[in-house]
């Protein structure tokens, strides 16, 4: 399942991400847990929480992030 289709307020685990330094350093890496917060309208980003910090990720990118429910 991709991150964009993950349901709101659920705890998930990241399986794989596209190659991106910025994602990695922000903690969006395979094996990390996250909480899906909300998806912004008009094709805006998804907001997830990792390590107590909120991160906005474009849907284009989030579509390439594979995740699973915890």
């Amino acid at each position: 399942m991709t991150m964009t289709t993950f349901s709101k307020n659920k705890l998930g685990k990241i399986l794989s991400t596209p190659e991106s330094t910025l994602l990695k350093v922000l903690g969006v890496r395979a094996g990390k847990d996250f909480i899906m917060k909300v998806t912004q309208p008009f094709g805006g980003p998804v907001i997830i929480e990792i390590d107590n910090r909120k991160i906005a990720i474009s849907q284009v990118v989030a579509n390439e992030i594979l995740v699973a429910e915890c």
Binding site: L22, R29, V38, P41, F42, P45, N52, A56
Partner: protein, 589 residues
């Protein structure tokens, strides 16, 4: 890279060089300001500091140069600002103060390991422990220090807590033998960061805690469209109301009476004593006298709005509201080839285009930099110009101000779309860290407003007086009339403005508000006000902006922007006038 800016040179008297490093938005610039007394701009979003600055500190009678380095998530470079950070590190230092964010330890540790690999003596500031505490995060600094093999000092930079001990340590470790740090692969660093964070950090559940302050309570609400979007809109309307209302009140109640009742008679009396009525008298204190207008325009008219604008801007910066706004509008920004994070430099542009253009260094693509650096000089009025526009148009009707702003948004939208099509490359989609929503520290906010006001007065006053002096010379000698006659097809026929309005096309090059203010005393009708306002809004960036464009990109790019803004200003202004004419014709027929 240019090194002509101030605060960049290392004082040769300094014995040591100390780098201040860390992730973006962890409080480095706050520490820098506290130590050096230099007021570095601080704000609650990543990418505030995009170029390094140098300050002096003296501790135990030894002077050191402290360097505020732009924040980096890692030393793998993703933006120009991070590139600068890496360069600084490669050029070496006597010691490093690395700032860690206690609310986000694991991620911060990754950079910590990368820094330690340089084997430069390093001391850590575990900052923001106040915020961490409220979030229920406790960190054992002693344990962390053992595991890192370097001193770790817990502290709260905005309150100055821990900073003395930190500086002590930063000096003490210089020239000390360092434990050699073995190089780890990137994955090993993540693993180690996780392990260490788990050991030193304890977390208690504070979700039910009533001690949470207002900001922590609304933190979550502000990132969802509902109620985040209404909150954002209400905030923006409130901000505009405060600027326009507060500015007008300050102007009417305090500054204008002071100016008209005390300053003007005083100056006229003073000059009258030494100069007899005539050309010189008029240039000094006449209709366009620069001792009069040079004070009335920047101080009595524009400054009140600038003052309230800076309060609002500083508040939005320090609370962490701006990146949240970026997230909410990302969908719209994509339509003009940008991404939500671009809202921050654009917003800064309403203060001044110079920091806005410099701020694009934090952008991750050249295309994004160029789009922002084009639309800011073109359709974002700077605060002085905004103040001038409110004076010119708002005194007639506030609707006029809104109309000019609406036109500017429309042009911004069109320009963004066109640039997105014609510029090569691609803008990276949004990946943005949302900082904690923080209650702005009032002392810090007050100091920031004061520093910005000081800059405004220093920067505005001299060019203003020179420009007005030049204008009054042209006015009094009749040169202005001749110039007006030459370009009257443009100004009178095409734009429908009086001939003397041609002066704004000259003065507007010096400072943007001077494209507006001379129109004040020309008794313009409502349509002329709209045309004049629109022309001024889009017209040329000031010389300072031209300079920064030439430096950040190249001279050709700056020239292109100057040409584009002039053409767009005259074109749109003219179209508006001609449309009014057409309506008038039909009305007559």
């Amino acid at each position: 890279m240019s090194c002509h800016e101030i605060n960049k040179r290392i004082d040769p008297n300094s014995k040591y060089k100390i780098l201040l490093m860390g992730n973006p938005n962890v409080g480095k610039s706050v520490v820098f300001s506290k130590y050096t007394g230099i007021e570095a701009i601080t704000a609650n979003y990543p990418g505030t500091t995009v170029s390094y600055s140098v300050g002096n500190i003296v501790h135990e009678n030894e002077q050191a140069s402290l360097i505020d380095v732009p924040g980096t998530y890692s030393l793998e470079v993703t933006s120009e600002a991070e590139d600068i950070a890496k360069e600084m590190l490669n050029s070496g230092a006597d010691s490093i103060i690395a700032v860690l964010d206690a609310t986000n330890l694991e991620r911060n540790l990754n950079l910590a390991f990368e820094i330690l690999e340089y084997n430069i003596p390093t001391v850590f500031l575990l900052n923001m422990v106040d915020v961490a505490e409220r979030k229920g995060i406790m960190i054992d600094a002693k344990k962390l220090s053992e595991l890192l093999g370097a001193p770790v000092i817990p502290g709260v930079a905005v309150l100055g807590r821990g900073l003395n001990r930190l500086l002590d340590n930063a000096y003490k470790i210089i020239n000390k033998e360092q434990p050699r740090h073995i190089e780890l692969s990137q994955d090993e660093k993540w693993e180690k960061a996780k392990k260490i964070a788990n050991i030193v950090q304890t977390k208690e559940d504070v979700s039910q805690d009533r001690k949470k302050n207002f900001w922590e309570k609304i933190d979550n609400l502000t990132v969802s469209p509902w109620p985040g979007l209404p909150i954002a809109i209400a905030t923006m309307i409130g901000a505009m109301g405060l600027i326009v209302g507060g500015g007008k009140a300050l102007r009417a109640v305090l500054l204008l009476p002071l100016f008209n009742n005390y300053y003007v008679p005083f100056m006229e009396g003073l000059v009258g004593r030494f100069v007899s009525p005539g050309l010189l008298y008029n240039i000094l204190v006449g209709e366009l006298g620069f001792l009069i207008k040079g004070v009335e325009w920047p101080i009595a008219l524009v400054l009140p709005y600038v003052f309230f604008f800076y309060i609002v801007l500083s508040f939005l910066e320090d609370s962490g509201f701006l990146p949240r706004l970026g997230i909410l509008v990302d969908g719209v920004m994509q339509k003009i080839g940008l991404q939500g994070g671009s809202i921050i430099p654009i917003f800064l542009g309403y203060g001044c285009a110079v920091p806005a253009i410099l701020g694009t260094r934090a952008a991750t693509s050249e295309k994004e930099r160029k789009i922002i650096s084009t639309i800011v000089p073109l359709c974002v009025p700077c605060v002085s110009q905004l103040g001038a526009l409110v004076v010119l148009l708002g005194d007639h009707s506030f609707m006029l101000v809104l109309a000019v702003l609406a036109i500017s948004f429309l042009v911004m939208f069109i320009a963004g779309r066109v640039l997105d099509k014609v510029l090569p490359g691609k803008v990276n989609p949004i990946i943005l860290e949302v900082p904690n929503l923080l209650q702005p520290n009032m002392t810090a906010l007050f100091r920031k407003v004061r520093m910005r006001l000081k800059h405004f007065i220093l920067e505005a006053e001299l060019p203003m007086i020179l420009a007005i002096g030049f204008a009054s010379l042209m006015f009094e000698t009749g040169a202005l009339i001749r110039f007006g006659e030459i370009i009257s097809p443009l100004v009178v026929n095409w734009l429908g403005l009086p001939q003397e309005a041609s002066i704004v096309l000259i003065l507007g090059i010096v400072r943007r508000e001077l494209a507006v203010l001379p129109l004040l005393d020309m008794g313009l009708g409502i349509r002329q006000l709209l045309v004049g306002g629109v022309v001024a809004m889009f017209y040329m960036p000031c010389v300072a902006v031209f300079g920064v464009l030439a430096k950040e990109f190249n001279f050709r790019f700056a020239l292109k922007i100057a040409l584009l803004t002039t053409v767009v200003a005259l074109f749109i202004g003219g179209i508006i006038h001609q449309v009014f004419n057409l309506f008038a014709l039909i009305g007559v027929a």
